[in-house]
């Protein structure tokens, strides 16, 4: 919502018009969160990453919840969390309760997502909830923030929740039009910012960003630096709608032959930098994007060399 | 030790057996090698008996009947003659035809009987023992004799022999007399084919073999073997055993 108070640092920075970066943290099926926290520290070190998304059971897998890591990242590392929440696993009561709880813990950004279907995950026979959809979740957050009530209008004791809410959009969507119309709905019910899915195609990304301009809220374009050829190949083959540019893919493939690890890493990093630096520069220069959401999960070493250009 | 041949004699009841008796009554001496089987007519002597005799190790077989025209059963000995001719043709293929003798001895010819037995015994003695007794050759000879026995048992050939006299003298169903030469030619072909088929049958009795292998073993062209295999398959005697790559092998499935 364009005129909602900026409760989070992220939204504040966005509204300042500064080109910014966000990162992504993925707590997996884990008890020990140190790797996540380490990653967060690396992000913070760059000084350019304003906040980090904390995922909520991506690909429908049963992972450590997103609330606790979000809290720990803020508390222990001091990096603001963008708390991802899917409507897949919770009904409106649980959603309300969790958001309220998270807000008490000081979480300021919530990214409302539908979530990959549980049939895709590692507990395929789970009952997918989808009591609300992501739009309705934004509606719920708006009610909690703006009215201080739940969906039925029952008031929260002690005041309103202070939180900003974001929504997702997919530049790879095909057909495009319903996707844009859907984002419109989300903005209508109170989304404060947009984070997009990853894009490898600069023209496509620009076009998509252009389409989103009319909603007049900050947009972070998702980019996915790729750590090794395997991931790129998987993306290309198995994630429908995403096609990794051929040259990029071939360059990565060539690195498979390099035996020396260090040399190999250096080469991969260089390929990513060569691909993404001009990409991001182009975005920054030609679009109204508020920044880039850099989804380099477990690829901390790239932050420094990649972001130093900006 | 000198070789004492074992000789089997088929004697017709009315002439030759009586002739032998006469030789006895007259105390005419002849070699002890002969063992006699009495038959009512020399026409009763099935060529299969003779093949069987050789299989059992007999060294020579002598068949004696009434003189032509004197047969107690009018024409039995004419049939004998034709049967023995066929037998002789077959035995020729395996060098056994020397070991049989067909002759006529009347009830009055005691002397002649003794003489024939004597001559034949001497003849066989010179010829040596039934080659079956040689260890090296035993399997081959036995196979050959069994082949011949099988051919002799063939219903069609036996039938032809049975009709031969009628066809070549009185005429066939169309009242046409077939010349002996014509018949012989036809008959020889039939015998040869049947012989080859049975040879093949024996070769593939236990183990499937390919056409070229069979051909090599029995010494005829492979294409001819294939033609016989086709016939044998149609009779239900042979079937494909297995197919290794491009080479099918055939095996006998004939019972008994």
């Amino acid at each position: 919502m364009a005129n909602r108070t900026a409760y989070s640092n992220l939204v504040k920075t966005m509204r300042e018009g500064k080109f910014l970066f966000t990162g992504e943290l993925e707590p997996k099926k884990m008890f020990d969160l140190s790797s996540v926290l380490h990653s967060a520290e690396e992000m913070k070190k760059t000084g350019k990453i304003v906040a980090a998304n904390v995922t909520d059971g991506p690909q429908g897998d049963a992972y450590t919840c997103s609330m606790v890591p979000s809290y720990l990242v803020q508390e222990k590392v001091g990096l603001e969390a963008i708390w991802q929440m899917t409507v897949r696993d919770r009904n409106r009561i649980a959603l309300f309760g969790d958001i309220l709880g998270g807000s008490i813990l000081g979480l300021k950004n919530l990214l409302a997502l539908t979530g990959d279907h549980s049939a895709l995950g590692d507990n395929k026979n789970a009952r997918a909830v989808y009591d609300l959809d992501s739009t309705q979740l934004i509606d719920l957050v708006s009610k909690m923030v703006d009215d201080g009530t739940d969906l039925e209008g029952n008031e929260i004791e002690g005041g309103k929740v202070e939180m900003n809410v974001g929504c997702a959009a997919n530049p790879n969507s095909d057909p495009r039009e319903p996707e844009i119309l859907k984002v419109g709905r989300k903005v209508e019910v109170g989304a404060d910012f947009i984070q997009t899915q990853t894009s490898f195609d600069i023209d496509e990304a620009k076009e998509f960003l252009k389409d989103l301009e009319k909603f007049n809220i900050p947009v972070l374009l998702g980019l996915f630096p790729i750590k090794n050829y395997g991931i790129a190949w998987y993306f290309n083959e198995y994630i429908p709608g995403v096609s990794v540019p051929k040259d990029f893919l071939n360059d990565l493939k060539a690195t498979k032959k390099i035996k020396d690890k260090k040399e190999k890493y250096a080469k991969i990093d260089q390929i990513n930098i060569d691909f993404y630096v001009p990409f991001i520069k182009e975005i920054k220069k030609t679009t109204k994007a508020a920044g880039v959401h850099c989804m380099a999960v477990h690829y901390e070493r790239l932050f420094e060399p990649l972001l130093k250009e900006f | 030790m000198t070789f004492e041949p074992k000789i089997l004699g088929f004697l017709c009841n009315w002439c030759s057996y009586a002739g032998a008796d006469l030789a006895g009554v007259s105390r005419i001496q002849y070699p002890t090698n002969i063992r006699v089987i009495r038959v009512m007519c020399s026409g009763r002597v099935d060529p299969v008996f003779i093949a069987e005799a050789f299989i059992e190790g007999i060294d020579g077989v002598i068949i004696l009947g009434c003189h032509l025209g004197d047969c107690h059963y009018i024409s039995g000995n004419y049939e004998t003659e034709l049967k023995m001719k066929m037998l002789s043709k077959l035995l020729n293929f395996i060098d056994f035809s020397d070991r049989i003798r067909l002759d006529w001895v009347s009830a009055a010819e005691g002397n002649r009987f003794a003489q024939i037995v004597g001559e034949f015994t001497e003849h066989i003695r010179k010829l040596g023992p039934n080659p079956l007794k040689e260890k090296k050759k035993k399997i081959e000879i036995l196979d050959n004799l069994n082949t011949i026995k099988a051919v002799l048992s063939d219903r069609r050939l036996r039938g032809l022999v049975a009709r031969q006299r009628e066809l070549t003298t009185e005429g066939n169903v169309y009242n046409k007399v077939i010349s002996s030469e014509e018949f012989e030619k036809f008959f020889d072909d039939a015998i040869l084919n049947e012989l080859l088929r049975h040879k093949i049958m024996i070769k593939i009795r236990e183990k499937g073999k390919s056409v070229p292998n069979i051909a090599k073993e029995i010494g005829i062209e492979p294409y001819k073997v294939l033609q016989h295999i086709v016939t044998l398959r149609a009779r239900g005697w042979v079937d494909v055993d297995e197919i290794n790559e491009e080479i099918p092998t055939f095996i006998s499935i004939k019972e008994g």
Partner: protein
């Protein structure tokens, strides 16, 4: 039509195992694929074979019922047979099994089928498809006649989600159509994208939760009572 699927023969057999005389009842009603006398007979034959392999003999009779969900039909059709049998095996949807158990309280009726959904035939795909989920709050008016409850894996009221590519859904490996893309196509065709962009608030899942019932022709004694009920 109620789309059903026959249970594994082992599972059915386990249910009837303690009994030696069974009545197998097909249903001529809306059950799809049709489970009439022929299917009942085939099932009975299989159970007999199965019983035999377990070392016992099974007596059976196969019958069929016009509609097992109708208690009156069940009562008249099946009653003449139940005396002779220990249990009934029903080839109807769950409704038939419940009705049989209700109509004949002194004999157990077991299900031979899993009731899957209410659906209709899609001849082009040679499938039965759940086109309606009987949610109790019909949205078809604003979705161009395509149901997002039945057609969308996530039951979204405000779709599509990010899991659609080329109009196909992430669930099922991008083989099924995305209901929301269909909805968009339909509404665009009729120039009613206004309906598409409309925000649809959270749904009333009370309408969708068990047990569900609806009164038949309730009689009211006064106007107030009637008005009061209407409002609720």
């Amino acid at each position: 039509m109620i789309i059903t699927e026959q249970k594994d023969i082992e599972e059915i057999y386990e249910m009837i195992k303690p009994y030696s005389k069974i009545l197998v009842a097909g249903c001529d009603g809306c059950c799809q694929p049709p489970r009439s006398i022929n299917e009942a007979k085939v099932l009975a034959q299989m159970l007999e074979l199965k019983a035999r392999s377990e070392g016992k003999e099974l007596k059976w009779k196969a019958i069929t019922v016009l509609r097992q969900c109708d208690d009156r039909i069940v009562a008249t059709t099946v009653r003449p047979f139940i005396e002779e049998f220990d249990v009934i095996v029903s080839l109807s949807c769950g409704l038939g099994v419940v009705m049989m158990n209700k109509v004949f309280p002194n004999i157990l009726t077991f299900p031979a089928q899993n009731s899957k959904f209410g659906g209709a035939e899609n001849n082009a795909e040679n499938q039965f498809v759940e086109y309606c989920e009987t949610c109790g709050e019909c949205l078809l008016g604003v979705t161009g006649g395509v149901c997002p409850m039945a057609g969308c894996a996530k039951n979204l009221s405000n779709g599509p989600c990010g899991g659609t590519v080329g109009g196909k859904c992430e669930v099922g490996g991008y083989t099924h159509d995305c209901a929301w893309v269909k909805i968009w196509e339909r509404l665009k065709k009729f120039n009613r994208l206004d309906l598409f962009t409309q925000y649809r608030p959270p749904r009333n899942y009370r309408l969708w939760s068990s047990p569900r019932f609806k009164e038949i022709n309730k009689t009211y004694t006064n106007v107030e009572e009637s008005n009061k009920e209407e409002k609720q």
